[in-house]
């Protein structure tokens, strides 16, 4: 459960074939309003029409054989859906100042969802949830015969697995004690019909972008202690087609472009240090201009060299400011994941917030909403936007916490005791069963002060607590949110850039090796005030239903108390020989420095 676009990149060195980073998340985003129509009223594009025909045929045939012998154990499905992601992508990657690969791809993948039983109890119950989905690659052309044959193949095997799981679910239901949460397995929703034009193929001038990506990577030659870097551009156009036996028919386009940089260094004591940054836009031409990117890359390179030399942190328990960006990551991890609907039921879940509805869970000056319908924040594009979720439900803005009071959860079509229907947050990567997930998590505050004021408050708070300094978290990276019962209710985000802000007026001091510890709820309740400007974090978030693009928006926050310890990461020495780029820069070859 980490909001990072870099999970895939970390494993780069060593892998020969690295998959397309641009995942096939069935994400949707478009501005055109969708009018409620019935499927009969609109002309369906050939792919959707074939899906629709084959779906109807399957529903009217499966488990309805006239042969009494053949139908002995065959039960007709009560729900069937086809969700096809038709995605075209381009990815360009450079490292060490040269191109490492440059590829394009086009594929169509179908997720067939089969449900047997009834909405109260079906084949997806409990630990059988994954049995809902069966995935297959589809032909790229509109050859109806090939398409319907592939859909048949996927439906047939999906039905087989659903049937097997349904029979086991029924047996298990008979032998186990009554569950705490007796909600059904599938909510009742209105079918949606909305046919939009397919997303245009991404327009990327490959030669130009290869040059740009390459020269951005080359910037790190100015920082020889940054011994590894990866710069990657991905551009993706995706059209998602959805047809269900309830009558939903959707064609929904989405485009995204992302530039990711990941750079690594190591301190002399072996501590691994890294920085990452992402730039997102709807299309590549809207990404920041080259000079702006170059400046950001230089800043990143410099910050790593500074970090190498920064002193090690000491264990600390006192006040701290999280920058807007750091707060956004913090809220996504600590709060967002725990507000996912499915985490409120099931014996395995910690259910931190299950019984907290209508109770104060945050300071009353804070509100939190998730709004996938919003495409930008200020001038920043939000990557967690979509039109319809991956269960074909219309995206909605959901007020999760109002004035500190918990109001609802992020709901897919999996009902829970307190909420029985979807609020358009059923999201998944292709090949996974959708779960309640975040889209654009937006934190707002009514107790905001200027940055200068917030800093003053930090120093006052530190003085009050008798601390020589408070902490300022400028950048935080992925951690993991553990929400299951048998693990402690802790979180572990990785602070990347942390300063000590001294009470005696000394200049701020960069420290390294800071790691946050403590319990999430407690940490959130200790927010004293916020800044008056919000920052956006765009990233990829991985969880049970796969990796999906998300955004989080939050202002800086002052916490009265945060507990940190020394991070135990990495024991290897830095490279023994000097970076070849530094050797080349010097007129004569330098001797090994590390002996």
């Amino acid at each position: 459960m980490k909001p990072t676009s870099l999970a895939a990149l970390r494993h780069l060195p060593g892998g020969i074939r690295i998959g397309q980073i641009a995942g096939s998340c069935a994400l949707l985003l478009f501005i055109a309003p969708s009018v409620t129509l019935s499927a009969q009223q609109v002309a369906l594009p050939p792919l959707l029409d074939t899906m629709s025909t084959e779906l109807t045929r399957a529903m009217s045939t499966l488990g309805k054989s006239g042969d009494p012998k053949a139908s002995e154990k065959q039960i007709p499905p009560y729900f069937l859906s086809y969700s096809v992601a038709d995605a075209t992508g381009i990815s360009i990657r450079a490292q060490y100042g040269a191109l490492a690969d440059s590829e394009s791809s086009h594929q169509r993948v179908v997720d067939v969802q089969v449900r047997i039983g009834d909405p109260k109890l079906d084949n997806t119950h409990g630990t059988h949830r994954a049995s809902a989905v069966n995935t297959l690659q589809l032909p790229l052309s509109d050859d109806r015969e090939a398409l319907s044959r592939s859909l048949w193949l996927a439906t047939n095997s999906g039905y087989g697995s659903a049937l097997d799981n349904y029979l086991r679910v029924k047996t298990e239901a008979e032998v186990r004690a009554k569950e705490q949460d007796t909600s059904g397995d599938f909510s009742t929703e209105q079918p949606q019909v909305s046919i939009e034009k397919p997303a245009p193929a991404p327009v990327v001038n490959k030669a130009v972008w290869e040059d740009r990506v390459r020269s951005l990577s080359k910037i790190f030659r100015e920082y020889p202690d940054v011994y590894q870097n990866v710069v990657m551009l991905t551009a993706q156009s995706e059209t998602d087609y959805f047809a269900s036996s309830e009558g939903s028919r959707l064609a929904s386009p989405h485009q995204s472009a992302r530039l990711v940089v990941f750079a690594v260094s190591r301190a002399d004591d072996g501590m691994d240090l890294f920085r990452a940054q992402t730039f997102e836009a709807e299309t590549v031409d809207k990404l920041p201009a080259q000079p702006e990117l170059e400046a950001a890359f230089r800043e990143l390179g410099k910050s790593l060299e500074d970090l190498r030399k920064a002193p090690l942190t000491e264990p600390f328990n006192g006040p701290a400011i999280l920058s807007g960006r750091a707060s956004a990551v913090f809220f996504h991890e600590v709060l967002g994941h725990r507000l996912e609907g499915q985490r409120q039921r099931g014996d395995e879940e910690g259910q931190t917030f299950t019984k907290e509805v209508n109770k104060l869970v945050l300071p009353s000056f804070l509100s939190v909403a998730d709004d996938p319908t919003r495409t930008t924040f200020g001038s920043t594009w939000l990557s967690g936007s979509y039109d319809f979720d991956d269960e074909g439900q219309k995206a909605k803005k959901v007020e999760l916490i109002q004035d500190g009071v918990l109001k609802t959860f992020l709901m897919s079509r999996l009902p829970i005791a307190s909420f029985s229907s979807s609020n358009g947050h059923g999201r998944a990567q292709t090949g996974h069963v959708p779960n309640g997930r975040q889209g654009n998590l937006i934190v707002t505050s009514t107790k905001s002060v200027s940055d200068a004021e917030l800093r003053k408050m930090l120093i006052e708070e530190a003085k009050k607590q008798g601390k020589p300094y408070g902490l300022y978290f400028e950048d935080i990276s992925s951690g993991f949110a553990v929400t299951t019962r048998n693990s402690p209710q802790a979180f572990s985000v990785v602070p990347l850039v942390v300063y000590r802000v001294y009470v005696d007026g000394r200049p701020d001091e960069l420290v390294r090796g800071v790691s946050i510890v403590g319990t999430p709820l407690a940490a959130m309740k200790r927010i004293l005030a916020t800044g008056d400007k919000s920052e956006v974090f765009n990233g990829e978030c991985g969880a049970e239903s796969g990796s999906i693009p998300v955004s989080a928006v939050a202002p800086a926050m002052l916490l009265t108390e945060i507990e940190t310890q020394k991070q135990q990461q990495g024991t290897q020495r830095p490279p023994i020989l000097t970076n070849p780029s530094a050797v080349a820069a010097a007129a004569t070859p330098a001797a090994g420095k590390g002996n």
């Binding site: 060490y96 791809s105 690659q137 032909p139 052309s141 090939a146 048949w152 020989l577 080349a584 002996n595």
Partner: protein, 549 residues
């Protein structure tokens, strides 16, 4: 007692090929920007890489593989897409210690990094620098561990850890991948839809559960340099077209057929007409297989394997066992595998001999994918007489010696980005008194008569794990009937040693285009006692509903 069994013939050949290409020099190599960058970083590492108070490496090797791939796939008559990849991968090996005892372990050591596609010397060197640093640190800790382990065992290692080899400078021309992608996409789409379009196949249309055709082209340029002075550049291309189709019999048994055509150039592949003919035959065979009766429950007796099926048997049972790999520390074993103690012993009938000859590039006009000139450790390929008149007289070996085999015979082979291990190149099985197919068939029937058997079996093709795909029940007067659902038992080293009663004349060319390309040339073989058994595997259900019409 130690006895050196050096294959003199092979050595002579090696010397000959060496002199043939020995005029190339490091200066020639440095005209190549990739080799130039590799040599520059190698020199720096050799001269400077050392952690204080620890040993310097005694051997460093850099390998870069530049791999360009194109693949396109068709399902049910339509393209599901093309994949195009081009990457360079660097693999660095660092050895600490000395030739006698070094840091190497059984896992295959080294570090791997993705490296620059651009011929940018600094970028190429940066990834080599990173991998070298990692490999050296790993080697230091592996070496310390090795020294500690050596103190734990009574029996010392039976051979050195690493062989000394003469440096080789061999520069082949680089290759590029030239493929008309859209034409191949169209071709595989059409192939995968043959069951829809070919009038002769109309009857099978409803039964086809999958029909897939794939075309794959690959060009690999590999660059190798080491601190002993070896510099090698190799360029290889390979192309493969394959087709697979399957259905289920009425009892649910899965019936699968596949066919592939491969070679070094596109011209080596079957023509479109020839390939289509094969594919049509395969689809039509499904109808026969669906109708074919189940094999009898158990049979022990003579079976004739076609040259195609025999090649698979050799690939499965002989190929993995005639390689010499370092045995467990502390044992007196020579090598590992089924032939570990078979040196000079009989492993095949006296009329069979086995040679591995990587220099054999074609056979009767067919290119052999297992051929190569220099192996992936920079050692010149040698022809190795492995089995002579049934006796095992040699092993295939790379640079990690075993008892009595102190030198590589040029069979250290590596998958892309992988460590080198000994493997076959072009393995040729021949019989001193081979007979033709009709004669073999007569011998089969004669055996049946001798043993008073009403029927015997003929295996035409084998699938994975030596499971028959086309198996014929042969009655006393030679009439063949296709049967299905069989597995074979007792196909092992013992049966090969004493159960083969005759072999064919003409070898089949079996190209295995796997991670390490291999070729087997083997004739048909008649076994006098093999078991055929009904597989009795769990059959899946038939489709729950019919396919769209």
């Amino acid at each position: 007692m130690k006895k050196l069994a050096t294959p003199f013939a092979a050595l002579a050949l090696a010397t000959f090929s060496l002199s043939a290409i020995a005029q190339q020099t490091r200066a020639d190599a440095e005209k190549d920007p990739v080799l130039k960058a590799m040599l520059a970083e190698l020199d720096r590492s050799r001269d400077q890489l050392q952690l204080k108070d620890f040993e310097k490496p005694f051997f460093i090797q850099y390998r870069i593989e530049d791999v360009a791939d194109f693949q396109t796939k068709g399902d049910f008559g339509a393209s599901v897409g093309e994949d195009q990849h081009h990457q360079r991968v660097a693999r660095v090996t660092v050895r600490v210690g000395d030739y006698k005892t070094d840091s190497s372990t059984v896992r295959g050591d080294g570090a791997v990094q993705l490296t620059a596609l651009d011929n940018d010397p600094l970028a190429l060197r940066a990834s080599l620098w990173q991998a070298t640093d990692q490999a050296y640190k790993n080697a230091l800790s592996a070496y310390a561990q090795k020294l500690a382990q050596l103190k734990q065992v009574q029996t010392p290692p039976q051979s050195d850890d690493f062989s000394r080899e003469s440096p080789v400078i061999a520069l082949e021309d680089p290759v590029t991948l030239n493929v008309d992608g859209s034409q191949w996409s169209k071709r595989v789409a059409e192939l995968s839809g043959l069951y829809r379009t070919d009038p002769a196949l109309k009857a099978t249309e409803a039964d086809v559960q999958y029909a897939t055709a794939i075309f794959h082209g690959r060009a690999v340029n590999s660059y190798l340099v080491n601190t002993e002075g070896t510099i090698v550049r190799k360029g290889t291309t390979s192309f493969e077209e394959s087709f697979a189709v399957g259905t289920q019999a009425a009892d649910g048994m899965h019936l699968d057929r596949s066919y592939g055509s491969n070679g070094e150039t596109i011209k080596d592949l079957d023509s479109s007409e020839a390939f289509t003919k094969h594919a049509v035959k395969l689809i039509a065979s499904l109808t026969d297989l669906r109708k074919a009766p189940l094999v009898e429950e158990e049979y022990h007796g003579p079976i004739l394997f076609s040259s195609d099926a025999s090649s698979d048997i050799i690939h499965e049972i002989v190929a993995p066992n005639i390689v010499a790999t370092r045995p467990e520390l502390g044992t007196e074993a020579r090598t590992k595998g089924a032939f570990a103690s078979s040196y000079h012993a009989r492993v095949l009938p006296e009329f069979l001999s086995v040679v591995d000859d990587p220099a054999l590039t074609t056979f009767k006009g067919k290119t052999l994918v297992g051929a190569y000139k220099v192996d992936d450790e920079g050692v010149l390929a040698q022809t190795v007489n492995l089995v002579t008149a049934g006796r095992l007289e040699n092993y295939l070996i790379g640079r990690e010696p075993v008892r009595d085999f102190p030198k590589s015979n040029g069979h250290g082979r590596a998958a892309i980005a992988g460590a080198a291990h000994p493997a076959i190149g072009v393995l040729k099985v021949s019989s001193t008194d081979g007979i033709d197919d009709s004669e073999l068939n007569k011998r089969l029937l004669a055996l049946a008569k001798d043993r008073d058997l009403k029927s015997v079996y003929f295996v035409e093709t084998l699938g994975p794990e030596l499971t028959p795909r086309l198996l014929y029940h042969v009655d006393a007067d030679g009439k063949r009937e296709l049967v299905r659902g069989a597995t074979l038992d007792d196909l092992d080293q013992r049966t090969l040693r004493s159960g083969v009663v005759a072999a064919g004349k003409e070898p089949y060319v079996a190209n295995y285009d796997g991670a390490v390309p291999e070729t087997i040339l083997a004739p048909a073989m008649l076994f006098d006692d093999v078991t055929v058994r009904r597989a009795n595997e769990k059959n899946d259900k038939l489709p729950f509903y019919p396919p769209p019409s």
